[in-house]
């Protein structure tokens, strides 16, 4: 399968990229690694008239500590994040989750900005980011703004990103030694999750339980008022609206959400809670 024809532009600065977005509007699609966009272009589910390849803009790929936060450049590839020493020390759930994306070849190309912009509810890194909290820094013709991750993903393939904006950076709190876990349930190792649960510091996010990645609010509230992990996890699917497909119907997805949440919380708690 082959993408439909398009014009290709390759800006060398963020400003140039934004100018191209302003010029072409919704005829344009931004491409970084291309591992979310090219597959849907090959299936002709997306047929942009213009592709803006931002992968040659310098300075888009980094992981660094800034105060209480870790800042990750939008162009950071999954395999860079996976092996990044700063990320491993400061926010270990991210490099681990990055290692669970696709397969090595995909991780060599895919970027964190791309997966955030794609807004697939079955995506690994957005699930971990939602559990972490933090912000998505975007830039448009009128400058930069920060969007909390809790507001960024608005629907299946829909985000708070405006047509003329580019994702510049993801900022997450440093979690250091706080317990964390990412529990991904698949049939084959490199599949998209049927359901996944990310837990860090008392917050839980779920993949593939609604039109976007979602927080398990009822679980979080139960934990906050001192409920046991088992009690809290039993509420994980509350407020979700899972779909049905050949891998899982709604009932089974809800079961998996509860099970994976319990396992993630137990793992995050170092297994102590499991024995209690």
């Amino acid at each position: 399968m082959i993408p439909g024809p398009f014009d290709y532009v390759r800006p060398t600065s963020v400003e140039e990229a934004i100018a191209a977005l302003v010029e072409h509007g919704d005829d344009a699609k931004v491409m970084a690694g291309g591992h979310s966009l090219l597959p849907i272009m090959k299936l002709r589910l997306a047929m942009p008239a213009v592709v803006i390849d931002i992968s040659r803009i310098p300075g888009m790929s980094y992981v660094r500590v800034e105060g209480d936060e870790v800042a990750i450049g939008a162009g950071t590839r999954h395999h860079q994040l996976e092996h990044d020493e700063v990320a491993r020390a400061e926010v270990p759930i991210l490099p681990y989750t990055a290692s669970q994306v696709g397969d090595p070849q995909v991780r060599h190309r895919g970027t964190i900005g791309g997966t955030v912009a794609h807004s697939d509810p079955a995506s690994d890194l957005p699930t971990a980011l939602l559990a972490l909290g933090g912000t998505v820094v975007v830039q448009g013709p009128n400058g930069r703004r920060s969007i909390p991750v809790t507001e960024f993903w608005q629907g299946f393939f829909e985000t708070a990103l405006a047509e003329d904006e580019l994702i510049i950076e993801i900022r997450v709190p440093r979690t250091g030694s706080a317990g964390w876990a990412y529990e991904k349930f698949t049939r084959r190792a490199n599949d998209w999750p049927i359901v996944a649960a990310a837990a860090v510091d008392g917050r839980v996010a779920l993949a593939n339980m609604a039109g976007t990645v979602v927080r398990a609010t009822a679980t979080e509230e139960a934990l906050a008022r001192g409920a046991s992990i088992a009690e809290a996890a039993a509420l994980a699917d509350q407020g979700t609206s899972p779909g049905a497909d050949m891998h899982a119907d709604q009932e089974y997805r809800r079961h998996l959400a509860r099970l994976l949440t319990r396992r993630a919380l137990e793992k995050a708690a170092g297994g102590a809670a499991a024995a209690a």
């Binding site: 399968m1 082959i2 993408p3 439909g4 024809p5 398009f6 014009d7 290709y8 390759r10 491409m31 291309g34 591992h35 090219l38 597959p39 090959k42 299936l43 592709v51 390849d53 992968s55 395999h79 092996h83 696709g102 397969d103 090595p104 070849q105 995909v106 060599h108 190309r109 084959r188 190792a189 490199n190």
Partner: protein, 167 residues
């Protein structure tokens, strides 16, 4: 548009459509037919090549994206005198290929596995090759080939033209 790539050590420039996939560029423009296309969905890995030291699935990369890059395909592995690359040698000795269709991508991906881990366990080889499908071998002898190549030394994790396969 015009792209300039170094393919198996040789630089070349070509006029291409922006939508031309790297896999088709290699096969049809460069005439390097070893790289195969086995799916449409970045699933099978048959089209795996090394771009700037990293394994990629060339059906999901535009030739335009690879502009300025170094690309190594299966054809670029053996020495000028025809001496097999350690990974090619191990695939032959361990019978790691049958119909041969997944093989070019599998060998390139396997080089990436050893670059990442010089002494991989059975499990680690399987996880490293999770993006490459084979219908003939049941993967058994592929795993043995990768382990055997790794034991022979670090060259199994490198491609020629002095571009190391990076992590």
């Amino acid at each position: 548009m015009k792209v300039t790539l170094t393919v198996n050590g040789q630089q070349r420039s070509d006029e291409v459509e922006p939508r031309l996939l790297l896999a088709h560029y290699l096969r049809d423009t460069c005439g390097l037919k070893a790289t195969n296309i086995g799916c449409d969905t970045t699933s099978c890995g048959a089209c795996t090549v090394v771009v700037d030291g990293l394994t990629v699935k060339s059906c999901t990369v535009l030739a335009a994206q690879a502009d300025g890059s170094q690309v190594t395909t299966l054809e670029g592995l053996a020495g000028p005198d025809g001496e097999l690359h350690p990974m090619q040698k191990a695939f032959r000795e361990e019978h790691g290929l049958q119909c041969g269709f997944c093989t070019p991508g599998m060998v390139m991906a396997a080089i990436g596995v050893v670059a990442d881990n010089p002494d991989p366990s059975d499990r680690e080889v399987r996880e490293g090759l999770e993006g490459n499908l084979c219908r003939c071998t049941g993967y058994h002898n592929i795993v043995r080939a990768v382990q055997s190549a790794a034991k022979a030394g670090p060259a199994a994790g490198q491609v020629p033209q002095s571009q190391e396969v990076a992590r």
